[in-house]
């Protein structure tokens, strides 16, 4: 059982929805992104998604892309991102950390070496945007074998015929992408998303977490209400981009998590 599985079991026991928050590692610099990360559990974040910067984030909108550029300009690397997790684990051994990014930096390191290093750093799960089920042999299967969760994305184009393929080898939770589009796009509509979530729920016992287009305390409440939880990324990254102090960023995060936890 990973920290992710344990967290969802605990939330379920309390009857609470999950709030998942994303930041880009190293944005705007290593010190500040670490401070935000460290403050997240107290701000009500149940699962931390730590973005691994990549030069060519083809599924992300401008907000995340610019965050990645800021991080890379500041010298962020895959190793430094793992180091952030190692540092975080010194004071927090329960909050799950999911790495989210693209395959090339991992491929470049070598899958075997990466999995050893990621586990040593206390990473619990992986979301790799450009690895669909068709490429499971690359990383998904080795990661599961190493005891790490491989979190699958399901989207509005994942039809009934395809859904079983997406759910095979899925673990941790299912990340439902609320819209066809990129991160930071139009606001997700709970009434539109609900039937989709139910469709997936009928086929799996894994928690369904909805992301893309979730940006305010109102939407975190509405979206978490029709699923097992929700993810906010771009809206938090925007606060970082605007240069807000850490305390303000975390109080915004708190307002989002309060929304989700009210659901």
């Amino acid at each position: 059982m990973t920290r992710i599985d344990a967290k969802f079991a605990a939330l379920k026991a309390e009857g609470k929805k999950a709030f998942v928050a994303y930041i880009m590692a190293g944005d705007p610099d290593q010190a500040k992104s670490f401070e935000v990360m460290q403050g997240m559990p107290a701000a009500g974040v149940d699962v931390i998604e730590l973005g691994v910067p990549f030069t060519d984030p083809m599924a992300d909108g401008e907000t995340i892309q610019l965050a990645g550029q800021r991080a890379l300009e500041g010298g962020q690397t895959l190793q430094k991102t793992l180091d952030m997790a190692t540092e975080f684990r010194k004071t927090d051994d329960t909050t799950p950390i999911v790495l989210m990014g693209y395959y090339n930096p991992i491929y470049n390191r070598g899958v075997e070496q990466f999995l050893v290093d990621a586990q040593a750093a206390g990473i619990d799960g992986l979301i790799v945007v450009d690895l669909p089920p068709e490429e499971d042999e690359e990383l998904c299967i080795p990661a599961q074998a190493a005891g790490m969760n491989f979190i699958r994305l399901a989207t509005p184009t994942t039809d009934a015929k395809r859904l079983p393929k997406v759910l095979t080898n899925a673990s941790g939770f299912v990340y439902y992408v609320s819209i066809t589009g990129i991160t930071g796009a139009a606001e997700a509509q709970a009434d539109m998303v609900a039937p989709e979530v139910n469709r997936i729920k009928a086929s799996t016992d894994l928690p369904i977490i909805v992301g893309f287009g979730v940006k305010t305390p109102e939407t975190t409440q509405a979206i978490a209400g029709i699923a097992d939880g929700c993810v906010v990324g771009s809206a938090i990254v925007n606060q970082i981009a605007e240069g807000k102090p850490v305390a303000d960023i975390l109080s915004f995060v708190k307002s989002l998590s309060d929304g989700a936890h009210r659901a």
Partner: protein, 411 residues
């Protein structure tokens, strides 16, 4: 052991791999789209009506077959191998790009798609796509790096004349790879009505195989034309083509892959020299395997797996990756890959103008520069076929600048 002939032409496998290269590294949203494209392409491939339509347009709209021309003065000048030029620069829109675009647009129409998107570097693929979209009355959006929009202004104007919307991409560094990122972002957003027309033998399966198949008309024609001119059964000894993503080279090479006597050389853009300052775009000579834009292939990247920008005087070769089938042919040694610098390409450009009266694009000028290197040492009965894949009208401003000549586009 079996003694069956081991064919090089059977790739990719059912997972879209050429050896370990290729694959389908796309987000889940796009996965159903590329699966349905694959399905439609497999159907079309064996459908006579599809090829009838292609052949009709190739003949009457594009002007195929393009001539295979014996370059006698160039041959004399270099004093060695006999040099033929495959004249794909004479195609409608001035390059080989339209061979592939026609195929993809006919597929898009069969799939009921009404909106076409494309990425472009130098603008040749964008112009070809805008052209075919105009012909069929389809909406066309072309993504082009802001930097390229600036240095390829005539092609931007052509695309707009043809009714396309040209989007200047400023994300990332505003180059061809960023244009491809933005095209993918568009596709992931407009999944129902949009067809992504990729301009080279790269991207997720089935694009590398599909684009290769459409471009293979080049090599098929060369085989027939050379037999006509040199006698039945005479094969070329050496094939040479320039490589950015590698579609014109794949189109020339593919029909000859199983003819073991035929040597194949792909010429990458060496820019200012293949060095660790990355002032080149020689992915095979100066890169290593990685994953970008849907496929596993050789890439220019740093120690952390971040993608680097290439550099070349030729905007059409300025891409940090290469088609996965080339990566495979490179690794198994079936084709050779070399690089040519800006300076060498510019010398070849001028030689083509003065000896053959052909103003070549900067891309095939790279191929010609390699011909200049090897032809003199080869015997007179050695036949080289080089793909003259594009004409140089678009490049005269770049060349003039290099030669220190001021020309005024306004005339």
């Amino acid at each position: 052991m079996n003694n069956l002939f081991n064919s090089f032409m059977t790739g990719p496998d059912e997972k879209g791999r050429f050896g370990k290269f290729g694959g389908r590294f796309v987000s889940e949203t796009l996965m159903p789209l590329i699966l349905s494209l694959e399905e439609e392409y497999e159907r079309a491939k064996t459908d006579d009506s599809f090829w009838d339509e292609m052949n009709d347009l190739w003949t009457h709209y594009v002007g195929r077959p393009s001539p295979l021309y014996y370059a006698n003065r160039l041959t004399e000048h270099l004093g060695g191998a006999k040099i033929y030029l495959k004249r794909d620069e004479l195609n409608h829109t001035g390059a080989h790009k339209i061979n592939n675009v026609l195929g993809q647009i006919i597929l898009a129409r069969r799939m009921g798609k009404t909106r076409i998107i494309a990425e472009t570097g130098a603008g040749q693929h964008g112009v070809a796509t805008a052209t075919v979209c105009a012909k069929f009355g389809l909406k066309c959006v072309v993504y082009m790096g802001a930097h390229d929009v600036e240095r390829q202004a005539p092609n931007v104007f052509r695309m707009r004349l043809l009714g396309a919307e040209v989007v200047a991409v400023t994300s990332g560094r505003g180059t061809l790879k960023d244009a491809m990122n933005d095209a993918l972002r568009d596709w992931v957003t407009n999944v129902r009505d949009t067809f992504y027309c990729i301009g080279t033998v790269a991207g997720p399966h089935p694009y590398p195989a599909m684009v290769r198949d459409f471009q293979s008309i080049i090599g098929k024609e060369v085989r027939e034309q050379l037999a006509e001119q040199e006698g039945e059964g005479r094969l070329p000894d050496t094939l040479i083509a320039a490589i950015g993503g590698g579609s014109n080279a794949m189109g020339l090479f593919y029909p000859f892959l199983d003819d073991k006597s035929v040597r194949m050389i792909g010429v990458e853009a060496g820019g200012k020299g293949v060095n660790d300052k990355m002032e080149h775009c020689a992915s095979l000579t100066g890169g290593r395997p990685g994953v970008l834009h849907g496929n596993l292939t050789y890439l220019l990247q740093d120690d952390d797996g971040q993608i680097l920008e290439g550099y070349s005087i030729s905007a059409g070769l300025d891409y940090p990756g290469i088609g996965p089938e080339h990566s495979w042919l490179h690794d198994i040694g079936r084709a050779e890959y070399v690089s040519i610098t800006d300076k060498e390409a510019l010398e070849a450009f001028q030689l083509s103008c003065s000896t053959e009266g052909i103003i070549p694009a900067l891309e095939p000028s790279h191929a010609l520069a390699h011909v200049m290197k090897i032809a003199p040492d080869l015997p007179a009965d050695h036949i080289i076929v080089m793909n003259m894949c594009g004409r140089g009208d678009k490049d005269i401003f770049t060349v003039a600048k290099y030669l220190g000549v001021e020309i005024n586009a306004g005339g």
